[in-house]
């Protein structure tokens, strides 16, 4: 089936994964379980990565920088043709939300495992997305159209009410954005945002949006087939973020009751239908303290945090994406979907929480995964693997499930304690302190919590200075003993090999 809006569905038996890391592994596993043959692509940095070794076939696509490998549409399509792959799964990031790529797949008679190109296009343009979903009855954050002049915006701001955000149409990553709390600061803020947007993006068009304070980031997972059916799989709470990067997600949300869930779900389905959406997608909302919710954006792809929804619904979203792309009808209706238990995900990043969260590179020397009841790990790295600066710093996801939120939290605590990654610094200590914190346990947090009210010092409560001192003294002592043995060795008449193996034994 091929639609006008760039949707092609048909049965396929071989699929190319245009991605790497844990999400490539996730998709490979789903294919494996459905009996679909797999094709991996890899840059020079990834020859030994798990996704290459786990796939049935693997093709080299270029140098480590993504723009020379994972982002090069022609190379990906070329390999799909050479390998006979009939479908491509883009994962997240890289080409996942590039309408031109989705269309190029279809033009080459390759199934794109995702929505039609037209839906990606609309949802990728902030203003068009806002207008489209607003027309479908979806509440959006009050604000102005873009392109007003300064006087018009100043007038509009009075109507919207302060605080407001000045935002650049072309903006992203906080650039060209200004929070304004008082009317008298608005003219300067508009001018500043325009200047910044012009220099960063070559476009000085800005607009106003009401600033939602104490907001939570809550999103609705959707699944839609090519036959007009769409369901929501409940919500995810993703308020714990730092610099717009989510760090901990959970399902369900502490603040969403069944009534709110149904209302948000219905609105999310309406938004998806407004763009003839097909396959998995997510509508992100801001929810204020009075439980008003506002459309933020739609992610037209599989999300990093999809596992928490899988655990509480029992639905394998990665497998369902493949079924939908093959043209199958959804196997369940809205009434079949039950939320059972509680799931929490911690994103494990190669970064140093004790040093301003600086990314950490290096070779993983040891990785001991937590296991046992209620623990799932999605990872795409292994001991011996080198964390390079080329790709994003998320190296693993730790997901815990329990009958209740309390049980899930307790399992997360013990799983974090069991997890050992050495060779690079990770943010595991951040998660450990967070899941012990009173705020997290009582669900009292919003999107600004991590940046404004959380500190690694929170862990100071129970300090084990004495024990740390003993560890260090004993390690220093042992090191000193070894050093003196190394110095003494010159005098000995043993072969180096013998000596080396003795030293190895000593170290053990």
């Amino acid at each position: 089936m091929k639609r006008e809006d760039g949707l092609l569905t048909k049965r396929f038996d071989k699929l190319l994964i245009a991605n790497r890391g844990e999400i490539a592994m996730r998709i490979l596993r789903a294919c494996h379980e459905l009996g679909i043959k797999t094709v991996a692509v890899y840059s020079d940095a990834d020859r030994n990565a798990p996704h290459v070794r786990y796939a049935d076939e693997a093709y080299h696509i270029g140098a480590p920088p993504a723009r020379e490998s994972y982002l090069v549409i022609e190379k990906i399509l070329d390999i799909a043709k050479r390998s006979g792959a009939e479908a491509i799964h883009p994962g997240y990031g890289f080409l996942a939300e590039r309408a031109v790529f989705a269309q190029a797949c279809v033009d080459n008679d390759i199934v794109f495992v995702g929505p039609p190109a037209r839906a990606i296009d609309i949802m990728g343009d902030k203003q068009e997305a806002r207008q489209t979903v607003k027309a479908a009855g979806v509440p959006i954050v009050p604000g102005t159209e873009p392109g007003l002049n300064d006087e018009e915006m100043i007038a509009a701001a009075a109507e919207i009410g302060f605080p407001v955000l000045v935002k650049a149409v072309a903006g992203g990553g906080g650039k060209g954005m200004r929070p304004v709390h008082r009317a008298e600061d608005l003219p300067d803020a508009i001018a500043g945002a325009r200047r910044e947007a012009l220099s960063a993006f070559g476009d000085d068009v800005v607009y106003l949006e009401k600033m939602i304070t104490e907001a939570r980031h809550i999103e609705i997972q959707l699944l839609a087939d090519a036959h007009g059916n769409a369901v929501y799989l409940g919500e995810r709470e993703c308020s714990l973020q730092r610099r717009h990067q989510k760090l901990i997600e959970e399902a369900p949300s502490f603040v969403v009751d069944e009534d709110l869930r149904q209302r948000m779900g219905a609105v999310a389905v309406a938004a998806a239908k407004a763009v003839n959406y097909v396959n998995a997608g997510t509508i992100e909302f801001l929810v204020d303290k009075d439980k008003n919710f506002y459309f933020l954006e739609m992610n037209t792809r599989l999300q990093v945090e999809h596992p928490v929804t899988e655990l509480v619904t029992g639905i394998d979203i990665a497998q369902e994406m493949l079924r939908v792309a093959r043209g199958r009808k959804l196997r369940f209706s809205q009434e079949d979907i039950q939320i059972k238990g509680w799931a929490i995900e911690c994103r494990i990043n190669a970064e140093d929480p004790y040093n301003n969260y600086l990314p950490s590179t290096g070779t993983i020397t040891t990785m001991r995964l937590p296991t046992g009841p209620g623990v799932r790990v999605d990872t795409g790295v292994f001991p011996g693997y080198e964390i390079t600066p080329y790709y994003d710093s998320m190296i693993s996801k730790l997901i815990c499930y329990g009958e209740t939120r309390g049980e899930a939290v307790l399992r997360m605590r013990r799983a974090l304690e069991e997890y050992r990654i050495m060779g690079v610094k990770t943010n595991i200590p951040f998660h450990q302190i967070m899941v012990e914190s009173h705020r997290f346990l009582t669900g009292q947090f919003d999107t600004s919590f991590v940046e404004t009210r959380f500190s690694m010092e929170e862990g100071e409560g129970e300090s084990h200075d004495l024990e740390a001192a003993i560890f260090a003294a004993l390690a220093a002592h042992r090191q000193g003993q070894q050093a003196s043995q190394i110095v003494a060795r010159g005098a000995r008449d043993t072969s180096n090999w013998k000596w080396y193996s003795r030293w190895e034994r000593l170290r053990k």
Partner: protein
Amino acid sequence: MKYYTKVNNQEYEIEIDHEHEITVNGEKYVIDFQQLPDAGLASLLINNQSLEAVVEDQDESWEVLMMGKLYTVKVQDERTYRLALARGLSADSGEGEVKAPMPGIIIAVPAVVGNVVKQGDKVIILESMKMENELRAPRDGIITQVKVTTGASVEKDQVLIVISDPETGD
């Protein structure tokens, strides 16, 4: 062997009597210390309390990551400790170099030669892993060298900025 340790401003005098017994500030502890095959990981039983930590040698001190907390422990053996006392040197002389903690590209260089900076001031912005990272001054001082410019690719541990003590020029 006797060791002088300092962590979070607590000082402990640790005497390692033999393999299974130590004395800390005069109090005896029965211990069993095992370095595990995973580099840096160690298991310790202190009076039968079981603890595990990642212990790493960081030139001037030891980093101990235990139960989600990082401890920086200074350890000196008796000789070093006495020498330091005799010389009257502060053991806490700050580092003067800002090094790249990972490979990346320099996005901005707020630091200017001759400027006075305070510890924690932003001196370099480095992009790596799709993220901008702020590197900060490790100590108070005057910026005496800026070795990179915006757009430069840098290797891990490359020296980017040198900060000297305004008094000693150190």
